[in-house]
C-alpha cells in the first residue's frame, strides 16, 4: 500500500471522471493511489454512493483519501459514502472544494510528494484563490 494520500475523482460523467484520472496518471505518475467513478447505477449521468465507496476503497491509503467532485449530487453522495465508511477510516477522507480536473492534478502532485491529507486538500483548494 502506498504511503501517499490517495485521490478519488467523482463526476456525473464516467468519461469526465476517467479523463481526469488519466490526466493525473500521465502528469503526476504512478506514486499516488487513484480511483474514479461516475455515472448513475442504471446508466446515464449521475453518481452512486456504492461506486464512490468502492473507489475510496481501491484508492485507500493509511495517509487518507482526497475526493474531487463535480456538481451537487457528486458532493452529497460523497458525503454519504464517507459517513458509511468504517469508524477508523471516516476521519481520513476529505472532499476538496476545488474544480474537479485542475483540483485532481494539483492534489495528485501534492500527494506524490508525500504530503499530509490536510496539505493535499489545501493545495487543491488554493486554486480558488489563485
Amino acid at each position: 500500500m502506498s504511503a501517499n494520500v490517495g485521490i478519488v475523482i467523482v463526476s456525473h460523467s464516467p468519461d469526465v471522471a476517467k479523463g481526469a484520472a488519466d490526466m493525473v496518471r500521465q502528469m503526476v505518475g504512478d506514486d499516488v493511489p487513484l480511483a474514479w467513478c461516475g455515472g448513475a447505477p442504471g446508466g446515464g449521468l449521475g453518481t452512486s454512493v456504492e461506486a464512490i465507496m468502492s473507489a475510496i476503497d481501491s484508492a485507500w491509503s493509511d495517509a487518507g483519501v482526497a475526493i474531487l467532485v463535480d456538481l451537487g449530487g457528486a458532493e452529497t453522495n460523497s458525503e454519504m459514502a464517507i459517513e458509511m465508511l468504517p469508524d477508523d477510516r471516516r476521519d481520513r477522507v476529505v472532499i476538496c472544494n476545488a474544480p474537479v480536473v485542475e483540483g485532481a492534478v494539483m492534489a495528485g502532485t501534492e500527494a506524490s510528494a508525500g504530503s499530509s491529507l490536510e496539505h493535499v486538500r489545501r493545495t487543491a483548494e488554493e486554486l480558488r484563490a489563485a
Binding site: Q26, V28, A113, G114
Partner: protein, 94 residues
C-alpha cells in the same frame, strides 16, 4: 551547514512552464529540504517552487529566463537538479 545557491536557465520547452513541466518541477523541488524559489525576473517576484498552484500559475513562457534560488542544507544540489531538469526539457533523468 546551511547553503544558499542561485542560478539561471532558459525555458526551452515548447509550451513553457505549463501543466506537465510545472508538475515535474514541483515534484523535484519537493524532494529537497531547502527552501526553493523561482522567478522570471532577477528582482522577483519569487514564488515557492514547491507550490504546484503557484508554479503553474506563473505561466512562464518558452524563451523566458528562469531564475532559481535556494536556501538550506541541500541548496546547491537543489538548484543544480532543477536547472538540469529544465535543460533536459523536463524529460526524466537518464
Amino acid at each position: 551547514m546551511s547553503q544558499t545557491a542561485q542560478s539561471t536557465v532558459v525555458i526551452e520547452h515548447e509550451v513553457g512552464l505549463h501543466a506537465r513541466p510545472s508538475v515535474k518541477l514541483t515534484q523535484l523541488a519537493k524532494s529537497f529540504a531547502a527552501k526553493i524559489e523561482i522567478a522570471t525576473r532577477p528582482d522577483g517576484p519569487w514564488i515557492d517552487a514547491k507550490s504546484i498552484v503557484k508554479v503553474m500559475g506563473s505561466k512562464t513562457p518558452k524563451g523566458a529566463l528562469l531564475h532559481v534560488r535556494a536556501q538550506g542544507d541541500d541548496a546547491e544540489a537543489a538548484v543544480r537538479s532543477i536547472v538540469a531538469l529544465v535543460e533536459r526539457d523536463f524529460e526524466a533523468a537518464i
